[in-house]
């Protein structure tokens, strides 16, 4: 379980995140919405251990973020908004490259299966020849090589076609329910958020998102 208690983040006098508390259970997908600059990426970076909070505590599986940062990183998968893969490699080479550097060893068959499970079947294809959707899937697959318990996704479907978007969405749902992962997901696409997520965290003062989400009937936490 991920427990966030009274979390705040400021840069000098400017407060980005103020007094946020929530929990995420295994099998749960939590959507993160808010206007640009509301602090979604900052919150995701704090949850990924890349930034330290100004105030508050966070614990994942009872491991405190302040004292177990390195150990926590083995339990976290982070999918950056930009596609962080080797363009000159094939899908296979990318998977093998990051597997060799990963905390968990997986053989080629397991790596290929991971890609196939999200319909990424162009194993020998150079990445530069792949569509945007395929690249996004590979970006996600690499983050899952070490079987993280908490998966953080920063706009993982930005700029891709509807079919790939749906495929990624249904894969994330099955990942959460079948493999008991905790998933936190940011997106500007409200349809996607309401269809994939179990709960939604709305950051910022913009009533637009809150009204939109309340009408969808999803459990909502607003900050």
């Amino acid at each position: 379980m991920l427990e966030v208690h009274s979390l705040s983040k400021s840069y000098g006098n400017k407060t980005i995140i103020q007094d946020i508390s929530f929990t995420v259970q295994p099998t749960e997908i939590v959507g993160l919405v808010g206007e640009n600059g509301a602090g979604k990426s900052t919150l995701l970076s704090i949850l990924a251990t890349l930034l330290k909070p100004t105030k508050g505590t966070i614990a994942l599986e009872n491991l405190n973020y302040l004292s177990h940062r390195k150990l926590l990183r083995e339990k976290i998968g982070f999918v950056p908004q930009d596609i962080a893969i080797w363009d000159n490699f094939t899908v296979e080479e990318n998977m093998i490259f990051f597997e060799k550097l990963s905390w968990k060893n997986k053989n080629n068959k397991e790596l290929r299966q991971l890609c196939l499970s999200m319909n990424l079947d162009k194993w020998k294809e150079p990445v530069k020849n792949l569509s945007g959707g395929m690249k996004r899937k590979l970006n996600l697959a690499i983050s899952l090589i070490h079987d993280p318990e908490l998966l953080l996704l920063d706009e993982p479907t930005a700029g891709i076609d509807l079919k790939s978007r749906k495929e990624i969405g249904s894969y994330l749902k099955s990942l959460a329910t079948e493999h008991e992962k905790m998933i936190i997901y940011t997106s500007h696409d409200m349809d996607e958020i309401t269809s994939i997520c179990d709960r939604v965290l709305c950051i910022g003062q913009d009533a637009f998102y809150q009204n939109l989400l309340e009408s969808s009937g999803k459990p909502l936490l607003a900050f």
Partner: protein, 375 residues
Amino acid sequence: MIDIIKTRFIHWKKQRISLLFWLLFPMICTIFIIQLITAIQEDSQIPVGIVMEEDTVLANHLYAKIKNTPILRVVNVTETEAKQKVESHELDSAFVIQEDYEENIKKGKRNWLIKSYSSNLSFAFTPVKEMIISFVQEETGRSKTAHTVHDLSTDSEIKFSWEEVTKKAKNIQVEEDLLLTTFSFANTPNASKDPNITPVNTWGIWAVLSLLSTFLIFDWVIKERKSVLLLRYPFIRFSIKSFLLRNLLLYTMLLFFVDIITVILFHYVLNESLTLAGIGLLFMYRFMINLGAFLSGLMFHRLMSYYGFSFIITMFISILSGATVPIDGLTNRFPWIVIYNPLYSFLEQEWFNPWLLLLLLVVILWRIKGVKYNA
């Protein structure tokens, strides 16, 4: 480390042609340059025919001295061939070491020892003739000395033979190095040890070329620090710094392996010496330029700026080391310049390498300093 090697092989497989090119570039280019210089030197040598009419110690000694003159290409001919070849201008001139040369020298005779042939196109005849005369005069001078010593010791109990005196005179000439003296002005440092690299210094050329190739090979430091890929490192086993340092070690091993092949090849192709101390110094040089290229790579984010910097720094070091333009005047006046030459320790075979220590210290400080990731 095995996993790092496997990831590196994926990269190397993709860049095999360019990697192979830059790995072999210093070795092949140095051999090419040296062979070219040698060929040009050989072409610019003056062809001179030598006719040996007797096979004695003094005649052979004179022949060896002429043959060892760098500007001459000596051709062994008979007197008839000599005349024909000078006539047809195949030879610039020809010289006959005449019969009884040794005997005549021992007798103190100074005329008609050497006969010469030249044509109206023998442009180098006069200087070559003067040079051979000076060699013969050395021998006649020694012979005269021997006769004088012999005459002086007629009444003495100690007798010296002609051979003893001439041998002693030759030894003194070699030991005292009478023909090679270093001059320096008062209150100026004696430039007995020349720190400059001559343009035909094999290892000097190799050192400059390998400096450039190492810088260009080390562009991986920039490519693998692409900001978007940096976000992967917190979630893998290795921090970015640890990953880069392990790869630095791997590249050092690869490049040193190529350096060992270079040493062996230079030994067989260019007659360069092959010693353990030389290999040790080579490793230190290799490690130093790898550290330099690694740290330079860390300073840049754009490849084109890094490539530009690589060419400029190589050119600057090659000038500072005297490899491209002789800087004798400058180093004689400001001897401290050699301290700033990173090639100095390697080329002068000195174990103390301040540049290596400095770069190693900077890398250690860089490693100790923390790492910051931003999503």
